[in-house]
């Protein structure tokens, strides 16, 4: 076992504190801003001493913000709900489709398998706007424009390739012998997939799901182009605080705090799976 001197330990602690401070400072500053009025935020010079107020959160939760230029109607909670709904359902659909597909690509070599897998990956290559404008026309023709189903379908462009390729790598890392042994015991391939492959690939699937969720959550342009104001995610909704009559910095900060909370909570909960899953799935022996 390695022993470090007290000086080394102190230096390490100081270095770690500095790194944490450096990375956490923007979030800390945003949290502070969320408890201030616009006037205190814009004080010159800025100060950390202020009288905290919950007015920003109240405005977001009540949907009404009183400003000097009048009352501002806010749909923030609606956009937050849209983000949660779109991200969760899109990832769920991607997992449902992507995990069996990944297993098939990893275990069953068939004609054209690599081409199909690469085609799915290529969804990630095209600039979104290039895809979206023609898609808008098709969606209008088949009645999917401005629907949640249409959006969830388009969100598969983000989630499906990610899940498929990460989970495929993970399945390939698991020794096939374990599965063969189980099959010899008289079990079907589906039972093998369900009882052996899926549990072993669990961390990888969780990591892929979490990553896909973050990507879906941060998406901006899909709903903007394809849907009405009532179906916009929080990434578009947060911009409502930037108005011609001024920027509502306090509400922006409160909105950021509320909108990063679900992702942050999920990431903290699944942190172990994320690191383990990503590193195992990515390195091939």
């Amino acid at each position: 076992m390695e022993h470090s001197s007290p000086i080394e330990r102190v230096l390490r602690a100081v270095a770690l504190t500095l790194v944490v401070l450096f990375f956490m400072f923007p979030i800390f500053w945003i949290v502070l801003m969320s408890f201030q009025t616009n006037e205190t935020i814009l004080r010159i010079p800025p100060s950390v001493v202020f009288e905290p107020t919950l007015s920003n959160y109240k405005a977001l939760l009540s949907g009404r913000l009183e400003t000097a230029a009048g009352t501002l109607e806010l749909n923030f909670l609606r956009t937050l709900w849209n983000s949660i709904f779109l991200s969760v359902t899109s990832v769920a659909v991607s997992l449902l489709l992507g995990v069996p597909a990944a297993y098939a690509f990893a275990r069953h070599k068939f004609r054209g398998s690599e081409d199909i897998a690469f085609t799915l990956l290529s969804f990630r290559f095209a600039p979104p706007l290039l895809v979206l404008l023609p898609l808008t026309i098709y969606f209008q023709q088949i009645g999917l424009a401005n629907t949640y189903i249409g959006l969830i379908w388009v969100y598969q462009l983000i989630c499906l390739p990610l899940i498929l390729w990460i989970v495929r790598g993970y399945f390939e890392d698991i020794s096939a012998d374990i599965e063969y042994a189980y099959r010899i015991g008289g079990h079907s391939w589906f039972a093998t997939f369900r009882k052996i492959a899926l549990p072993l690939a669990g961390p990888g699937i969780a990591a892929a799901g979490l990553l896909a969720f973050i990507f879906a959550w941060n998406n901006f342009v899909f709903a903007l182009v394809l849907a009405s104001a009532d179906k916009q995610p929080v990434t578009v909704g947060a911009l409502a605080f930037v108005t011609a009559s001024g920027i509502q910095y306090g509400q922006i900060a409160a909105a950021i705090v509320l909108s990063i909370t679900p992702t942050l909570a999920l990431a903290l909960y699944a942190q172990r799976y994320l690191v383990e899953g990503l590193s195992l799935g990515a390195v091939k022996g």
């Binding site: 616009n38 814009l42 404008l133 104001a229 409502a240 930037v242 011609a244």
Partner: protein, 479 residues
């Protein structure tokens, strides 16, 4: 309703009693201000309906695409009046300004019939109109069967009205006889000076008389006000929006242009003349000596925020940007307005303008019903409602500027009315209408950034800019 109230409202509608007298009279009869306002709106709707069949499209429905803006807020607050007047159902989508034009472009370029009408800037119609995405509204304005006799199109300020009409020919004069009315002006911004009167008093300076004075006053304010306050806020980001406010307003006041239009209709760069170079030198000097430190990142938001927070002593930007900062900010109540004439030899200010307008989508399913909405939203009645009860400034209707209650409201904004009346006759779009507008103007802003950063001398920078613009115009078949 009682007879006395009815009589008073009828007298108002006949023009025998002014608005203030009406509301005062209704108040004396024991009606609360809110009730009086509602009665008035109802009576106005009745009066509008008297000479025109507003119910012709009853039962239809329309959908609007709106930008999150005080103009849209004022319209939404009055929308019930339109629904009552016409029986047309109206729904709307409001998008934040940052993404608004992306949404408009996506909807129009995909021929979406979802939206019947939308808010736009006049500059944008130089793309939308020739592309066939918006309708020429002259079709409806000039049709007495479709437009109310009380609509009073001529009451819209001439410079603003003409700025929204273009014949589609690159370099074509805005508002020419053959021009198409791509949009109806709704509310507009003149670019003038808003200043912090308290800081001016502290530094012992007066609002600047001309460009040389502006450079000197801004420098003195930077030196004397203290607390790191800088003299003048102007936009500086690498965008067309840097050129169009104060910069172009002052530039045009010296008779300078962006492009030359030859007799054959060919375009060429006009910003490397000796006068233009002299103007640019002064502008660059002003920013270097008295502008914000990170000027090259400055947009509408930073310019406005600094003025409201007391970080700058004045701005040369949209008048309504100053108007909005005069409420709910640290410096609220300290701001004053000044019509600015950059050229000492000019008779009056000639501000370039931004016009929030309403346009009709060519993919609308019911254009006649859409026109009903457009004419109501751009009517005098709605403009007065928006201007007096909400922040629908600057209204484009002359009648509103004669409304006593509106003029009274503006007294909270010292110098605003005077600034407006001095500038309005010369207010119009000073750019040359052509399809490369956004590209060329953005390049102009980029060159300005290089000059301020001392990466290129002003003379050389403008020569290079003119050369590049001429090349692009030729490649596009415009030069």
């Amino acid at each position: 309703m009682y007879d006395r109230e009815k009589d008073l409202i009828s007298a108002f509608l006949r023009g025998q009693v002014d608005r203030r007298g009406l509301l005062k009279g209704l108040g004396a009869m024991g009606l609360a201000a809110g009730t009086a306002g509602t009665l008035l709106t109802m009576a106005q709707s009745r009066a509008m309906a008297a000479d025109f069949d507003w119910q012709a499209h009853k039962g239809k429905s329309l959908k609007l695409l709106l930008n999150k803006h005080p103009y849209a807020d004022a319209m939404i607050a009055n929308l019930e009046a339109f629904k009552t007047l016409t029986g047309i159902e109206v729904t709307y989508d409001v998008f934040p300004e940052d993404v608004y034009f992306d949404k408009v472009t996506a909807a129009l370029s995909s021929s979406s019939s979802e939206y019947d009408a939308f808010m736009t800037g006049a500059y944008m119609t130089w793309t939308y109109g020739p592309a066939g995405w918006t309708e020429d509204l002259n079709t409806w304005i000039k049709d007495p069967a479709k437009t109310s006799p009380t609509y009073a199109w001529d009451d819209v300020l001439e410079g603003v009205r003409k700025s929204c009409a273009w014949n589609g020919q690159p370099g074509g004069t805005l508002g020419s006889d053959d021009a198409k009315q791509w949009c109806i002006p709704w509310g507009f911004e003149q670019n003038n000076i808003t200043y912090n009167a308290k800081m001016f008093e502290k530094a012992g300076v007066q609002p600047p008389k001309d460009l040389d004075d502006l450079v000197a006053v801004a420098a003195k304010l930077t030196k004397d006000v203290g607390n790191n306050v800088y003299g003048v806020g102007v936009r500086g980001s690498r965008s067309w929006a840097t050129i169009h406010p104060g910069f172009l307003s002052a530039y045009a006041n010296f008779g300078q242009k962006d492009l030359n239009v030859s007799g054959e209709g060919k375009l060429s760069a006009a910003m490397n003349t000796a006068d233009s170079k002299a103007f640019h030198s002064k502008w660059v000097e002003m920013i270097q000596n008295s502008g914000p430190k990170d000027w090259s990142t400055y947009t509408w938001y930073q310019v406005g925020t600094d003025l409201g927070a007391g970080a700058s002593a004045m701005i040369f930007d949209a008048d309504i940007l100053g108007y909005f900062q005069n409420g709910g900010t640290k410096e609220a109540g300290n701001l004053a307005f000044h019509g600015f004439k950059a050229n000492p030899a000019a008779e009056a200010p000639t501000p370039n303008i931004w016009i929030w307008s309403l346009a009709m989508s060519s993919f609308s399913k019911d254009k006649d019903a859409t026109w009903y909405f457009l004419q109501w939203a751009s009517s005098v009645e709605h403009a007065i409602f928006g201007a007096t009860k909400h922040d629908f400034v600057n209204p484009v209707r002359s009648a509103v500027w004669k409304d006593e209650m509106f003029v009274e409201k503006l007294k909270k904004y010292p110098g605003y009315f005077e600034m407006f009346t001095a500038s309005a006759p010369g207010a119009s779009i000073k750019f040359t209408a052509q399809p490369l507008f956004f590209d060329l103007t953005t390049e102009w802003a980029a060159t300005l950034q290089k000059m301020v950063a001392k990466e290129v001398p002003v003379d050389e920078g403008l020569d290079q800019l003119a050369q590049s613009i001429d090349k692009q115009l030729q490649e596009a078949g415009l030069g």
